[in-house]
């Protein structure tokens, strides 16, 4: 068993749980998406992705700006849930996954106490948000009252129907994505990437 699970992505059980959870709540598309992520993680773990493991991609700022601009225009001016929204989001997923798929370079340097503290603070906040959301979802379903127990989606829906709200959300979401992908981050000991 230990040999079989060697090198498993530790996030795989979490995403497998999400597949079950989304299936139980009737969100079929979300369940399919998390199932796809599980398959992708398994393919990566078992080295089934053809083409070998590439080095980290260097993407110019202009390309990133262009992708954000085109994506934002479509997501902003189209009716929510239109086929074009879906298409753009799927293309963005492919682009983001392509950017994250690169060779790891050695183990992480050990964390300082300051970094450990920072990690625990942010993990606690993320967990608190997830638990609050989960309990709101459960209470809303048990009491058949999503007004007294609103999930984040219930709160966000009217905001996203408003163009200004959509601009704010889109900006935050795009910036978080760029920050997570680290496409503009200066490589250690190197110059910043610029096209």
């Amino acid at each position: 068993m230990k040999r079989l699970l060697k090198g498993i992505n530790p996030w795989l059980p979490v995403f497998a749980f999400l597949v079950v959870f989304q299936t139980l709540r009737g969100a079929t598309v979300d369940a399919i998406y998390f199932g796809f992520v599980c398959v992708y993680m398994i393919a990566d773990w078992k080295r089934l992705i053809p083409g070998g493991m590439p080095e980290r991609k260097q993407v110019g700022k202009r390309i990133v700006w262009l992708v954000i601009l085109v994506g934002s225009v479509v997501l902003l001016f189209n009716k929510r849930n239109s086929w074009l929204d879906v298409l753009v989001l799927i293309v963005l997923l492919g682009f983001a996954m392509w950017l994250t798929y690169y060779r790891d370079h050695g183990p992480k340097p050990s964390a300082t106490p300051l970094m450990n503290r920072t990690k625990w603070v942010w993990m606690s906040l993320a967990l608190a948000m997830a638990v609050s959301e989960l309990f709101a979802y459960i209470w809303a379903n048990v009491n058949k009252d999503d007004h007294s127990y609103p999930t984040i989606s219930i709160i966000m829906n009217p905001i996203l129907e408003n163009p200004l709200g959509r601009i704010v959300f889109l900006t935050c979401w795009s910036l978080i994505g760029v920050g997570l992908l680290g496409v503009w981050r200066k490589p250690r000991g190197g110059a910043n990437v610029d096209s």
Binding site: N9, D30, Y40, L114, L125, S132, A136, L180
Partner: protein, 63 residues
């Protein structure tokens, strides 16, 4: 304001404090950028984090 809304607000405010604190007291917490750089070091975590980030966009834009 409902109980979940109060909870979300408290968590968002705490996140704002955690984000701004390193600018004023560098010894209290590391900047969020350094934490992100660290957690994105491993491909396993990179895939998981980006998958969740994308799903949030999907969830809200195609709701």
């Amino acid at each position: 304001m409902s109980i979940p809304e109060i909870e979300y607000l408290i968590i968002l405010l705490a996140a704002g404090v955690a984000w701004l604190l390193p600018k004023f007291r560098p010894g209290a917490l590391s900047p969020i950028g350094e934490l992100v750089e660290r957690i994105m070091h491993n491909r396993n975590t990179r895939i998981a984090v980006i998958a969740v980030w994308w799903w949030l966009g999907w969830h809200f834009f195609t709701a």
